[in-house]
Symmetry: C2
Subunit: 111 residues, 2 copies
């Protein structure tokens, strides 16, 4: 009800809530995109060592990138013995992107 009442302020707020700059920041680096793409293409979780192969940098850098992705909620991290298993939060990420798109379209309809 009344969702068709023109109320740009509310829409702006809702958009600001949905569009998460921190998530975009996590995904704005080519190396991190490379990591995400590699994880998406593999059914099994990957170790830092595995993921180091896909991006041409030192594994310490990969570890740092993974930390950023983890904190942004893009990947899961599970400790298995001395190695760390990283996997993509595919569903959540896709849902978040969808929600952003929907919020945009919703704003267009209101405004």
């Amino acid at each position: 009800m009344s969702s068709s009442k023109s109320f740009p302020g509310k829409c702006q707020q809702s958009l600001a809530d949905h569009m998460r700059p921190d998530l975009f920041k996590a995904l704005c680096d080519p190396v991190r995109i490379s990591i995400v793409a590699t994880l998406a293409a593999q059914a099994e979780s990957q170790t830092v060592g595995d993921l180091t192969e896909c991006c041409g940098i030192d594994f310490s850098g990969v570890s740092r990138h993974l930390k950023i992705l983890r904190e942004a909620g893009v990947v899961n991290a599970d400790k298995n013995g001395r190695e760390m298993l990283y996997s993509l939060k595919t569903e959540e990420l896709a849902e978040t992107l969808h929600a952003m798109a929907d919020a945009l379209i919703g704003c267009r309809d209101i405004a």
Copy 2:
């Protein structure tokens, strides 16, 4: 056909194509998100001066942010006399986000 054949390499490529770090880079800044949200909430195009109100920085900075958004394909820029009218490419942006989400889910299904 054969889209269900397990082919992680292809998926990784397709994802790398869809996930555009440059777009994420354009959207990773709070001020730029603020601009996007403001544009989304308004039916009419906005000038640089208008948009300067929403984000608490100098208009020269706003102009620079708008350039970044323009080059990333997030906003339209139309010159009208001595002022510049900016509007959000709502459809394209929403479509791009959807495509990313779909590519992610597609990868999950294949891998």
